[in-house]
């Protein structure tokens, strides 16, 4: 192996079989292939599943989850966790809707909640980075504060009578719903940034080995602040997509939304121990979860099974990761 020349990419050197193996060796490859296999199989059972309208629904359905999972993936890659994102989506959606019904300019109702999300992220980040409180404790506290606050303030009431032009998620460009653009563009931008920017690299370094990163002159605190603020931003955008998808805003967000977002990250190949994973993976996983939900309906299985299937996916992914790790003696 040592005598191989250095510059050639691995796939060229080893031929198509190796290329196939290296695709299957990445979580993104496994997810893409699973997604295609699912669509083909269910499509053969029930052709309506592959109708354009349903495929669009699948992509659109979990787009806001994919967007939030970009932020959560960054947090997990840095070796931390955020379990408060579901409640934050609820709070920011309610802020947005309340502003809208009170006549605030529509663009502000879209932008302000994103800033509030970043502030909450900065607060979480500060507690983790400077006061050294474990992220799971900080965000567990934040989860309760946000959820309790939301229910107390709104009394669980829904917001309706939203102004015209507010429903960003219902808009289409070239016939394709806006949430799909958000999901695709943000995923690509975040993936490029994580892969090619110095800060992105530092996020992986801190998650992979915080002490080695610190000794290499990387400021761990700055990186933790950065990922939590960015996470707040992505959750903010997700909240806008959530708030503007229906004609009403439910202050009761889907229960366990934060767990669904973390599921997307983990199934997407982001190691819960930090240091590895990509946002391409987490977005593919969100789409796969959405497709599974839809497929259950089309093959007449009770949608209540969806939760169980998600659980199996998490365990299968973590198990696969564990085996891979053991093979590499990481």
């Amino acid at each position: 192996m040592a005598t191989q020349s250095l510059a050639q990419p691995a796939a060229v050197r080893r031929g198509p079989l190796y290329a196939a193996r290296s695709i299957l060796g990445t979580q993104e490859g496994v997810l893409a292939i699973s997604l295609i296999a699912l669509i083909v199989t269910v499509g053969l059972i029930n052709p309506r599943f592959v109708a354009e309208r349903n495929l669009t629904n699948i992509l659109q359905g979990y787009a806001y989850i994919a967007v939030a999972a970009i932020g959560v993936s960054m947090v997990i890659i840095s070796g931390n966790i955020d379990i408060s994102t579901g409640s934050l989506v609820g709070v920011l959606a309610t802020i947005s809707g309340t502003l809208a019904v009170n006549g605030v300019p529509i663009w502000l109702t879209w932008v302000l909640p994103v800033f509030v999300g970043m502030l909450v992220g900065a607060f979480n980040g500060f507690l983790v980075a400077y006061l050294r409180i474990p992220a799971i404790v900080v965000t567990l506290g934040m989860l309760s504060i946000l959820k309790g606050g939301l229910i107390s303030v709104t009394s669980g009431a829904w917001i309706s009578n939203l102004p015209d032009g507010y429903h960003l998620a219902q808009m289409r460009l070239l016939g394709i719903p806006m949430p799909i653009y958000f999901m695709v563009v943000l995923t690509i931008l975040a993936a490029l940034w994580l892969r090619y920017s110095a800060t992105g690299r530092a996020i992986y370094a801190v998650g992979g080995n915080a002490e080695a990163a610190r000794l290499s002159g990387i400021s761990e605190r700055r990186i933790i602040m950065t990922v939590f603020i960015l996470n707040g931003m992505f959750v903010g955008i997700a909240a806008i997509l959530f708030a503007t998808q229906l004609s009403i805003i439910q202050s009761t967000v889907p229960p366990n939304l934060e767990l669904l977002i973390i599921t997307a990250s983990v199934v997407g190949g982001v190691s819960i121990l930090g240091g590895t994973g990509t946002v391409i993976g987490s977005t593919l996983a969100a789409v796969l979860l959405s497709a599974i939900g839809s497929a259950l309906v089309f093959v007449n299985i009770s949608p209540y099974w969806l939760r169980a299937v998600q659980g199996v996916l998490i365990l299968a992914t973590v198990l696969a990761d564990l085996l891979r790790r053991r093979r590499q003696r990481l």
Partner: protein
Amino acid sequence: MSPILQLENITKNFPGVKALDNVRFEVYAGEVHALLGENGAGKSTLIKIISGVYRPDSGTIMVDGTPVQINNPREAQARGIATIYQELLLYPELTVAENIFMGHAPRTRFGAIDWAEMSRRAKDILASLNIHDLDVRRKVGTLTVGNRQRVEIAKALSQNARILIMDEPTAALTEADVVRLFDIVRLLRSRGVGVIYISHRLEEVFELADRVTVLRDGQYVDTRLVAETTRDDLISMMVGRTIDNLFPKLPAEIGAPVLEVRDLVRQPMTRGVSFTLRAGEIVGLAGLVGSGRSEVAQVIFGIWPAESGQVLLDGKPVHIKSPEQAMKLGIAYVPEDRGTQGLIRKMRVRENISLAVLRQLSAYGFISPRKELNLASDSIQQFNIRAYSPEQIANKLSGGNQQKVVVSKWLASRPRVLIMDEPTRGIDVGAKAEIHRLMSELAQRGLAILMISSELPEIVGMSDRVLVMRGGRIVAEYQREEATQEQIVAAMMSETFVTVNGS
């Protein structure tokens, strides 16, 4: 009378290292047998084999003259072997009595724990050690280190230990505690317990032990009666290590002082350290583990900023508060523990090498892929790193090549002062020679190198000057011509056995 414990031809290999090679060792009842050797001589491996943590690759272990296999610590306990490690293994939230009887508490007829009986027996055991001032109902977490150690000893006796292994028991004790510990050890000896006593302090060996066995580089050197040996004998037995695997140091021109350290203090391990490092010079920093060697390096590098004292770079005073700042000033630190402090195992070789210079490789916050790949390829070539590609995951390299990756990461930042903590520990002979060649070449190019090492041949072979640390201070300095392994070991070992007290 046959020994209660006898080991013959014990060999143990770890990947890349022969930790023990045909070692023999025996203990008689009623004997204190000291085990001596430098850092890495194989003492720890040997006691881990006796206490069932490791299994030997070959060799026999006999208890009371019968060959036995000890598969795990539980089996060792069942055969009457108890070990007291440096880090005491007690439960701080449980009481003294609960700790002593952990795992074998006395039971009532109904199977419940008999608390009264447990307290009574705990008191009896402590009393048999002449310990009358320890409340058995106190939580262990509230006790002093000396008292915790007494609880460990009582725990060993509660399991009817006949062989007691003590690994550097005085390392963290105050003077009064040491005196009491020695009394207890003598008491145990008079009751027929065989004590294996490991210490770096030669004075303790002479005060306490009946016999002493010396290991060196995983090999058995000799066993002597303490009464018939001298301090100088023991030192020369410990240090006769071979040096033929070293790359010969190349002469380098020594220039102006680059790094000057004056009265540097950071409690508890750095207690007023002064030295000067010149361009082109390799200074070796020797000392036992715990002498404060690594801590000085970490204070200079800003990991633990200094409390007082001065650091001068090129004659100008600097105040280093973080590694980031130290790097900007041109100081690099290759840490002792490659695995936890140097390498990011999950990352590629390329990403590891560029980690300390991301900013220099970036424009507008984005890393230039071309510059990064060039840096990685150049480093791989220059340091002869055996990776099949810069894209290889760092963890898949051998130890020596991992170390070269860590060193090249630091050299990428083009430092003027390079601090290397145990630069060749745990790597194979070939990689060792390559690292030594590299250090020589770097010195020739004018880099000032501070090398911390536990390997005396490395210290003597590579250094222009040798500093010896003990108890957080520099206690001796030798020029290259006058430095011998014997002198350095004599300076490393303390004159009295209470130099570093736990405070």
